[in-house]
Symmetry: C2
Subunit: 239 residues, 2 copies
Amino acid sequence: MNLTSAKVACRDCSVHQLCLPNGIDEADLARLDGIVERPQPMAARRHLYFMGDNFRSVYVVRSGSIKTYVPSLDGVEQVTGFYWPGEIVGLEAITIGAHACSAQALERTSVCELPFSRLDALADDLRSLGRRLLQILGREIHRDQQVFTILGKPSAEQRIAAMLLNISSRLKQRGFADHEFRLSMSRHDIGSYLGLAYETVSRVFSRFQRQGLLLVEHRQVCIRDMAGLRIVAGSALAR
Amino acid sequence: MNLTSAKVACRDCSVHQLCLPNGIDEADLARLDGIVERPQPMAARRHLYFMGDNFRSVYVVRSGSIKTYVPSLDGVEQVTGFYWPGEIVGLEAITIGAHACSAQALERTSVCELPFSRLDALADDLRSLGRRLLQILGREIHRDQQVFTILGKPSAEQRIAAMLLNISSRLKQRGFADHEFRLSMSRHDIGSYLGLAYETVSRVFSRFQRQGLLLVEHRQVCIRDMAGLRIVAGSALAR
DNA sequence: CGGTCCCTTGATATTCATCAATATCAGTGG
DNA sequence: CCACTGATATTGATGAATATCAAGGGACCG
């Protein structure tokens, strides 16, 4: 028996407040809980879904992390996002009915699976769930807007600083340390996400370390000077 | 009296099929129509809202175009999006309750205003409206994902080609010509959006023209070689 | 008609990608 | 335990792409 796959009810889940159940009352929560599936944890590099797959479920990361990417003909995949505990993967497929990207575990990762048809049917009954779903999607749109300000920055230093601040703030929201964390993705993934060569990512990390902004050891990152990093990122909303 | 501000019911609106009412049945449509406000057209450069404003409404572009941007301390605003007829502005504020960016008309523009509290209340009654709202937000998330693949491209040529294709496909969806259109935003805005200097935008346009990919005259763009543009953009989902 | 903003183009400086070599780390099997 | 292997990361050298500085032309607006 694998402890990490033990069934944890939504009400006792550590990311409860960031997840769908937040704002759903006790009685309704039990019904929501009834449709949540909790598969075995996934090994690193396993896929949650592939681009083009029929949309069945959205997935909440419970532990570990996920990257999404768009594979391309020439084999150069483009990373479109990273997801940490409490974040929801697969929302991009709701309207289209098919996944617009592939989703892959960056490390050993466990998720909750929420079959969307059952979620949708349940929302017919529970107006609070319908509202909550709308909130979740609205939050996602808000986040995407913030990411636009990261990817729209003109220099490698600005983009990387803004990305680190974005990760930091997301981890903080989830109750993790905001100044020290382990990047579960490779330099290559970061470069693909930000539109930079992976060597550039590596160099900027080294430069930030020399400047006293960061301590970087492999994938472990410690932010030494949050304010300085904000200045590098550019004042435009790097919170 | 201004003809463009004449009251057009949702059912007769030209962007009906891209807008909220799509999929709402006749009887319910009348009720939805009842809460839609149709303000006078806005002059170019007028703001729909400013960052930080309380969230009251979402806005559907009926004619003209809107840009959204994040103003920053040093005065260097960062553009986060462009919106054409049938597209909905303001969704990023739904969950937070305050606008995360400012929205400005790029030309004479008319919108429909949908007061969200009334929309939300109506959705309690009309399950079809609740579903439709979810669809709208899901579509927005899907679009944002596509934008990530534009902004994540490594070169100026790729980003600009991908952006043009993205605009083209959005205009086509709305029944406009997909190979010939007028950009309502400045080179500066495009540069800010894509993380490029405005001179680079200008140069790449000229280069594309010399290569026979485009005809560019001021803000008027004609795509001469759609397939070639797709190749430049890189195969990764530039549709 | 004059002024302002926007766009284009050129020259130069800077940043970034690419190529390449080396180092490090996580597994794997002897 | 250690050697071996392949993936990952760092760093340097070089060339290409992009930003910056600068000038001039053209469109739009009062």
